[in-house]
Symmetry: C2
Subunit: 256 residues, 2 copies
């Protein structure tokens, strides 16, 4: 839109578009993989491909961080890891509680990816008295009766719910009443929260659904590959069967 | 671009942009929540907000499916669930194997969200002989020696890897050699696969990172709320502290 007087986009650090915020962890994941391989710099095209984003969008996103790279050199991997981590708030310590210590709660307690991103599991909480005092991932499980005091003592603002669906809303209400303002919900239910509380629901099948789309396409291609259809003039070439970026685990995105 | 002669976008069913494919599961998640509440129709604005996408992008995405809604009525929820499921390939049965039956593998075996999307757990596989024959989620665990015969017998094309990082590449190589062409990787390692094989890596901390961003912002706002800064002329209004859609679990996306 060119109707306003001020043509510069809003780049205040608090004014980052939500869609950009949602992509920052994808960039961070790709950058961390590069960092682990001691790659010092990366071009916007390489990083965009690894993160599954188109490179124009990546450059726009990074402009909100004040990060523009160096022509002919690209972006400094370590510095960009630091910048994105700082922007996401990951350079500070976030104590979290996990409520519901079944297989999924125990798996998350053991999950290395939390600690490396600044999330410290302050407590594991379960309603089963038989679990209380048991060690999971080196942390003692506490009974849900202690939930409020644990939240207060540890200054916890983020709660992870891994209970069965039927218990999730009640646990959510108690977490919020005790001062938690962000909820990560793994339970198969939609939670209701008051204004000012953020809830994100995890659906572990989303990545599988994307794989199924490609499987379906591969199956259709293998059925037709003996009888190639002639391309109509001006038609787009068929997409390749493999949509992955250079590091083999993140599909590239076609510009929409 | 108005330089080409053919102004109509490519809408062949196999020509859906990758970015659209990645959003289809988000629409499906939001639509399923509406369906569970017996909501019959939904406007593009409501659905876009619930899915965390802007509504112009949603309408563009749905045009690839040939779905345009009805003016003044919106989209038929059940029909759209069917259309998206079909497009993603979820109306067919996808047998999957889960390799590595620790807490995470067991949690996934018990996860209701797979079966409801057409993913049937055909087998659970582990390298520990002590686990073989044990029942998890009503399915007997099989020893990894049987991996190749399980893949062949069940016609499995999708494998889920939940082993420790050190074992993941070897398991991946065996899955691929046995005919698996899509891998969902939960192990903390980057997998190398041949052309024609799709790998998606799950990072369970991504949603937590987005919550941390908002927590950081809420903390900054509560520090400054007693001393409101005057807005500069033409400056954007500050984003509200809560960015959630109407069903309270999916943040809305500001148009970039």
């Amino acid at each position: 839109m060119a109707t306003g007087r001020n043509h510069r986009p809003a780049t205040r650090s608090r004014g980052i578009p939500e869609a950009t915020v949602a992509r920052l962890p994808l960039y961070l994941r790709a950058l961390t993989a590069l960092s682990e391989r001691s790659v010092p710099t990366v071009s916007s095209e390489e990083l965009a491909s690894a993160a599954g984003v188109n490179s124009a969008k990546l450059r726009k996103d990074f402009s909100y961080l004040g990060s523009y790279g160096t022509r002919g050199v690209g972006y400094d991997v370590e510095y960009l890891v630091y910048q994105i981590s700082r922007e996401l708030g990951l350079t500070q310590d976030w104590p979290v509680v996990i409520v519901g210590i079944g297989n999924l709660g125990a798996a998350l307690a053991n999950y290395g990816g939390f600690a490396s991103r600044g999330f410290r599991v302050a407590a594991l909480i379960d309603a089963d008295p038989a679990l209380a005092g048991r060690q999971v991932a080196g942390i003692g499980v506490r009974h849900v009766d202690e939930l409020e005091s644990i939240i207060e003592t540890n200054g916890v603002s983020i709660g992870v719910i891994t209970t069965p669906g039927g218990a999730a809303q009640q646990v959510c209400d108690r977490l919020v009443a005790a001062g938690v303002t962000s909820i990560l919900n793994f339970a198969p239910t939609v939670l209701t929260v008051p204004d000012g509380v953020d809830v994100r629901k995890v659906d572990l099948s989303i990545e599988l659904q994307i794989l199924a789309f490609h499987e379906q396409r591969k199956a259709a291609e293998s059925l037709t590959q003996d009888v190639p259809e002639p391309l109509a003039p001006g038609a787009a070439a068929p997409a390749p069967g493999r949509d992955q970026g250079p590091d083999g685990d993140i599909p590239a995105v076609m510009p929409a």
